[in-house]
C-alpha cells in the first residue's frame, strides 16, 4: 500500500505563483490519496468545511481519517496566530490509518492561517488562499512584514490566490441575508471549489444545509448559492497551469454499512450499548472538561436507552455519584480528562476498596496541570495505573481508534461488572475528535454482558467472593435480608466487618491485586499486528498511536526491513503472553505521546530493554517520525 500520492500531487515546479489563468484541462488525474488541511480563523467555518468534505468523501467511497486542531480560545481575536483553527483530512483509494503527515493541499483563509500552517506544507505543495483577507492589518496581526503573496516567499509552492470573500458575497447578493452572513459563506464557497477540483458530488452537502437551516430558508439559499458559485468558479474560470483536476477512486473496504465516527461519540454509544447488553441501567455522572465533554453531550439525549446522565458540581461529585449509582445496582460511569482524573483519585480508591463496578473514561490531553487542553497526549498512563493512595490496582484499557472506542467502552462495562472493579478507559484528544469510517456492527453480534445481583440470604456477608474470579458479590440496597454496611475502612476477609488486623490487611491487599491480575485470563492474548513473532525490532505502541505506528511498520516492511508491530489495548493487566512475546525480539521501541511511560512500565514489569520514542508536542506521531526511528534502530543509531 503506497503513500506515493506525494509523487503525484506535489511537483517541484518552476512556474509557481500562478496569477495568470491559462487553458483548462477537463481530464482528471487519478491520485491514490490526498491530504487537505483547511485553516482559518476560529470563526471562518473551517471545521464545518472539513467535516463536509469528509462526509462527501466517505460517500464517494474513500477510506479516510481526520484530525481537527482547535485553538484553545472559543473565539480568539480575529486574524491572530493563536486563533487559527485547522482541520486535516486524509482520503484515499486504499486503507489508511492516519490523517497524513503533511498536507498536499492547504486552504488558508487569512495570513495567520498561512503563517501557522506553511511550515507543514512540502515544497511544491498546493495552497489556496483567500487574498481578500490579506489586508495590511491582518498581515500585521500575523506578524508578516511584507505580503507573502507578493514578496516571492511562496515561490516553490503552487499558489491559487482567489478573492474568496468578494466572490462569495457576490454569489449570495440575491438572497436576503445580511452582509456579515454573506461574508460567512466563504467557507462553503471554498468547499464548492474543492469539490470541483476533486470531483466530489455537491448533493450530500446541499442536503445537509437544507436540514441544518431548515428554519432559515434564506441561509439555505445563500449557502447553496455559494457552494455552486465556488464550483462554477472552478468550472469556468481558467485555472492556472499546474493546477490540475483530480480524482481519488473508491477504496476497497470490506462490505457493510459505514458511517463516520469520532471517538467520543463512539465511547458514548458504547456505554449505551453496554446498558442494553447488560440489561442494566447506566448512571453517567460527569463534569464538563475539554476534551471529554462531548461524551456527556452524546449520552444526554440517550435517556431512552436506559442511561441517566447527571452533570455534577465537580469532578469529585461526578465520580462519587457514579459509585453511589453502582452501589444501588446500576453501572456507574464517569468521564473526564487528566486534571479531573487527579481529583477523582480518592473516590476511585473507595470503589476499589468496596469492590464495586465503575467505568472511568479518561480522554487524555496535554498536561501537567491545565497544560494544553485542546491538544492530545497519552500521559495519563502512570496516573491510571498508579495514581491513587496505597496499593490500589484496577483495570486499564486503551482503544486504538475512534471506532474501537465503541468496543472498549463495552469491554470496560463487561470487566467492571464481572470483576466488581473500576475500569479506566484511556482515550485521548486525537481519537476523541478525529473521525474514521466505521463498519457499523449489528447489536446481535456484540458480546452480551451477564450481570447478577446477589439475593441469597444464606450465609450472606458483603465480601463473599467468587473463588475463580475473586469478584465479590453485588448485593443491592432494597434486597430484603441483605442489609449490610460498606465503606472505605479495611474489611475482614471472612466477615466483611471492619478490621485492623495486620495479617488481614496484607491478605486483602493481595486479594485486590490478584483479582485484577486474574483478568489477564479473560482477555485476548497479545497478537502481532504486523510482521513475525521474533526478529530484530518490535515497535510496541498503545492506544491512539496505532495508526501512525502501523503505517510506519508497514512501509518499513515493504522496504524489506525486519520490524514487527505489537499494539496494546489492554494496559492492565497486560496480556498474559506479552512478556514471552516481547522477549523474542532483539530490540523494542515504544513510541508514545508522553515522556516514556509505557517503556518504563515494560522495563519495570518484565526487565525488558525497551527504548522510548517519546513525543510530547500535543500532536500525534507523523508516520515519518516513527519510520526514521525504525531506520535508526536497525542501523544501530540511537533514536530519540
Amino acid at each position: 500500500m503506497g503513500f506515493n500520492h506525494a509523487l503525484c500531487l506535489r511537483r517541484p515546479r518552476n512556474e509557481n505563483h500562478m496569477d495568470t489563468p491559462v487553458s483548462q484541462d477537463v481530464t482528471r488525474k487519478t491520485l491514490e490519496s490526498v491530504v487537505i488541511r483547511f485553516a482559518g480563523d476560529s470563526g471562518d467555518g473551517m471545521q464545518l468545511a472539513g467535516t463536509q468534505f469528509t462526509q462527501t468523501s466517505a460517500v464517494a467511497g474513500n477510506d479516510l481519517a481526520t484530525f481537527p486542531d482547535f485553538p484553545a480560545e472559543i473565539r480568539a481575536p480575529a486574524g491572530t496566530l493563536f486563533g487559527v483553527s485547522g482541520f486535516q483530512l486524509h482520503f484515499a483509494s486504499h486503507e489508511i490509518l492516519t490523517p497524513g503527515d503533511e498536507p498536499d493541499v492547504l486552504v488558508a483563509m487569512n495570513p495567520a492561517a498561512l503563517k501557522v500552517n506553511l511550515p507543514d506544507v512540502p515544497t511544491g505543495g498546493f495552497i489556496i488562499v483567500n487574498s481578500d483577507a490579506f489586508s495590511k492589518s491582518n498581515l500585521k496581526k500575523a506578524g508578516y512584514e511584507a505580503n507573502p503573496l507578493e514578496d516571492g516567499s511562496l515561490d516553490g509552492y503552487r499558489v491559487l490566490k482567489i478573492e474568496i470573500t468578494r466572490l462569495a458575497t457576490a454569489a449570495v447578493e440575491h438572497t436576503e441575508i445580511g452582509a456579515k452572513s454573506a461574508q460567512r459563506t466563504k467557507n462553503v464557497w471554498t468547499l464548492g471549489l474543492l469539490y470541483w477540483l476533486f470531483d466530489r458530488d455537491r448533493t450530500p452537502t446541499k442536503e445537509w444545509l437544507q436540514k441544518k437551516f431548515a428554519k432559515k430558508p434564506a441561509l439555505v439559499d445563500a449557502n447553496i448559492s455559494a457552494l455552486d458559485a465556488g464550483h462554477a468558479y472552478g468550472e469556468t474560470a481558467e485555472l492556472p497551469t499546474g493546477v490540475e483536476l483530480y480524482k481519488v477512486p473508491k477504496a476497497k473496504l470490506p462490505p457493510g454499512t459505514y458511517r463516520n465516527i469520532e471517538g467520543n461519540t463512539a465511547l458514548a454509544w458504547g456505554i449505551a450499548a453496554a446498558a442494553k447488553l447488560s440489561k442494566t441501567k447506566v448512571m453517567f455522572g460527569s463534569y464538563p472538561i475539554t476534551p471529554a465533554s462531548s461524551v456527556l453531550h452524546a449520552l444526554a439525549p440517550l435517556k431512552h436507552f436506559g442511561v441517566t446522565t447527571f452533570q455534577a458540581e465537580d469532578e469529585i461529585a461526578a465520580v462519587c455519584s457514579a459509585i453511589g449509582a453502582s452501589w444501588a445496582g446500576a453501572v456507574g460511569v464517569t468521564s473526564t480528562s487528566g486534571p479531573g482524573m487527579a481529583l477523582k483519585g480518592e473516590a476511585i480508591g473507595l470503589a476499589i476498596m468496596i469492590e464495586l463496578p465503575l467505568v472511568i473514561l479518561d480522554v487524555q490531553r496535554a498536561g501537567p496541570s491545565t497544560g494544553m487542553p485542546t491538544k492530545t497526549e497519552q500521559a495519563d498512563l502512570f496516573q491510571a495505573l498508579y495514581g491513587r493512595n496505597s496499593d490500589a490496582p484496577l483495570c486499564v484499557l486503551a482503544p486504538q481508534s475512534p471506532g474501537d472506542c465503541f468496543l472498549m467502552a463495552i469491554e470496560a462495562v463487561r470487566i467492571a461488572t464481572k470483576y466488581m472493579t473500576p475500569v479506566i478507559v484511556l482515550s485521548d484528544g486525537y481519537i476523541a475528535n478525529g473521525a474514521e469510517p466505521w463498519a457499523v456492527p449489528s447489536f446481535d453480534e456484540l458480546p452480551k454482558i451477564d450481570v447478577k445481583y446477589h439475593a441469597d440470604t444464606e450465609d450472606f456477608h458483603p465480601y463473599l467472593r467468587d473463588p475463580k474470579t475473586l469478584a465479590r458479590v453485588w448485593p443491592i440496597p432494597g434486597t430484603p435480608g441483605l442489609e449490610h454496611r460498606v465503606g472505605g475502612l479495611e474489611k475482614d476477609f471472612d466477615s466483611g466487618h471492619i478490621s485492623y488486623d495486620p495479617d488481614n490487611h496484607h491478605k486483602m491487599t493481595q486479594v485486590r491485586a490478584g483479582k485484577i491480575l486474574g483478568i489477564a485470563d479473560d482477555i485476548p492474548e497479545q497478537k502481532v499486528e504486523l510482521g513475525a513473532e521474533g526478529g530484530k525490532l518490535c515497535m510496541v505502541s498503545w492506544g491512539s498511536t496505532y495508526g501512525s505506528v502501523n503505517e510506519a511498520v508497514r512501509r518499513a516492511r515493504s522496504q524489506g526491513k525486519d520490524v514487527s508491530h505489537v499494539h496494546l489495548r489492554y494496559m492492565w493487566p497486560m496480556p498474559r503472553n506479552l512478556e514471552a512475546l516481547l522477549k523474542t525480539y532483539d530490540q523494542i521501541i515504544v513510541p508514545e505521546l508522553n515522556n516514556g511511560q509505557l517503556a518504563h512500565v515494560l522495563r519495570a514489569e518484565y526487565l525488558l530493554p525497551a527504548q522510548s520514542l517519546a513525543k510530547v508536542a500535543g500532536k500525534p506521531f507523523r508516520v515519518g517520525e516513527v519510520l526514521s526511528a525504525i531506520d535508526d534502530a536497525l542501523e544501530g543509531k540511537e533514536s530519540n
Partner: protein, 341 residues
C-alpha cells in the same frame, strides 16, 4: 448469619434497626442520643430495613451507618451528598438518610452540601454540629467560635464561623430545621417531619463533644437557661418562648426584638406568627443567637418544590414515551451512513 426480615405484618422495633456492631463513640458523646432517636423513630415511620439507607462521609458522626441494621455506606470525607445523589438517580424509592458533621458537611464537603440542597434531592440530611473536629483530635471546625483554642489554634481561632441553618437557606433548601442531641422526643418528631417532606430536608443537630469541646451548647441546652434560650417554632403559632411562654419575638424584616407579653403594652397579638413558608422570616430566625436572642428550633422553613430525583426520572420516562425504548442498531445507523457492496 444474616437475619431474615420479619414478616411484613410484624411491626419492627428499635432492635430491628440496631446492628450487631459495638458502638465506638466516646462515653457521653451526643451521638448516642441521636442514634437512639433514629432507631426509635424508624419503626414508627413504618419503613422497611431493606429500603432504608444511611450514607455518611468521614468523621465521628460518619460511623453512624455501622450501627444501623439497614443498608449503610461509609464513604469518603465530605462527599456523602454525591453518593446519595447517585443512589437516588438509580432508585428514587430508596429512603436515604445522610449523616454528616460540621467539618464533613461544611468544610471539605461544603460544595456538595450546597448542591444536594439546591437540587432538592429527596433525602434527609442530618448534620451533627459539635463545633469541633473530633476524629482528628480537636482542631477548630468551620462552626467553631472565634477565639476557640485548639491544637491548631493555640492563640484562638480567627476564622469567622458559618451558620449551618443560614447556609442551608442560602443554598435554597426547602426544609430547614434544628434540634438538640439529647432532646430525643422533639428530635424524633423532627425526623418524622423531615421524612415526610419530599425533597432535601436539612436538620442541624446541636451535639456535644464531651472530649474536645465539652459544653459548647450548654448556654442553650442547660436546664436553667433552656426555656429562655430555645424557641421551638410552629407554623401558624406566635414566636413565644420563656418559662411561661410570655417572651416573644417581633420580627420586622431583618430586625428582631424580644418583648414580654403583658409588659410595655405588648400583647400576644403583637408577637410575630411563624410562617414556615417565608424565606425572609427564616433567614432572620436563623441568624438569632444567644445571649440577646433565643436560638430557634423545629421546622424553621418548609416550602416544598419538585424533588430532583423524581424530575430526572420523569425526563427518562418522557424520553421513552416520545422515542420508544432505545434501539442500538438504529442509533448506530442514525445520521449519515453509506453502504459498501
Amino acid at each position: 448469619m444474616a437475619p431474615l426480615d420479619p414478616p411484613a405484618a410484624k411491626k419492627l422495633t428499635k432492635k430491628d434497626f440496631t446492628s450487631d456492631q459495638e458502638v465506638r463513640w466516646c462515653p457521653g458523646c451526643g451521638d448516642y442520643a441521636i442514634l437512639a432517636a433514629i432507631q426509635r423513630t424508624l419503626p414508627e415511620l413504618g419503613v422497611s430495613r431493606e429500603k432504608s439507607l444511611f450514607i455518611s462521609g468521614i468523621g465521628c458522626s460518619s460511623r453512624f451507618p455501622y450501627y444501623m441494621d439497614t443498608y449503610g455506606f461509609h464513604t469518603i470525607h465530605g462527599r456523602a451528598p454525591s453518593f446519595a445523589t447517585g443512589v437516588k438517580l438509580v432508585n428514587p424509592e430508596l429512603d436515604v438518610w445522610l449523616i454528616t458533621g460540621d467539618g464533613d458537611g461544611l468544610s471539605i464537603g461544603g460544595n456538595h452540601l450546597l448542591h444536594v440542597l439546591r437540587r432538592n434531592v429527596n433525602i434527609q440530611v442530618m448534620m451533627f454540629n459539635n463545633r469541633i473536629y473530633g476524629l482528628t483530635k480537636g482542631q477548630y471546625s468551620p462552626t467553631s467560635l472565634v477565639g476557640l483554642k485548639s491544637p491548631s489554634s493555640p492563640m484562638g481561632s480567627i476564622d469567622a464561623p458559618v451558620n449551618p441553618m443560614a447556609f442551608a437557606l442560602g443554598a435554597n433548601a426547602r426544609f430547614v430545621s434544628r434540634g438538640i442531641d439529647t432532646m430525643i422526643k422533639p428530635l424524633s418528631a423532627l425526623f418524622k417531619e423531615a421524612h415526610a417532606h419530599k425533597g432535601a430536608s436539612f436538620i442541624e443537630i446541636l451535639q456535644n463533644c464531651p472530649v474536645f469541646n465539652d459544653g459548647t451548647w450548654t448556654h442553650v441546652t442547660a436546664r436553667d437557661v433552656s426555656s429562655d434560650m430555645q424557641l421551638w417554632v410552629e407554623h401558624g403559632k406566635p414566636l413565644l418562648f420563656g418559662k411561661d411562654k410570655k417572651k416573644g419575638l417581633i420580627i420586622s424584616g431583618a430586625d428582631a426584638k424580644v418583648v414580654t407579653v403583658g409588659e410595655d403594652g405588648f400583647t400576644e397579638d403583637d408577637i410575630t406568627v411563624h410562617d414556615e413558608t417565608s424565606l425572609g422570616l427564616a433567614f432572620t430566625l436563623a441568624h438569632l443567637l444567644p445571649p440577646v436572642f433565643p436560638m430557634v428550633f423545629g421546622v424553621v422553613y418548609r416550602n416544598p418544590a419538585p424533588a430532583y430525583d423524581e424530575a430526572v426520572a420523569a425526563q427518562v420516562d418522557l424520553a421513552v414515551e416520545q422515542q420508544g425504548e432505545g434501539d442500538i442498531d438504529a442509533l448506530l445507523r442514525s445520521g449519515h451512513t453509506w453502504t459498501v457492496e
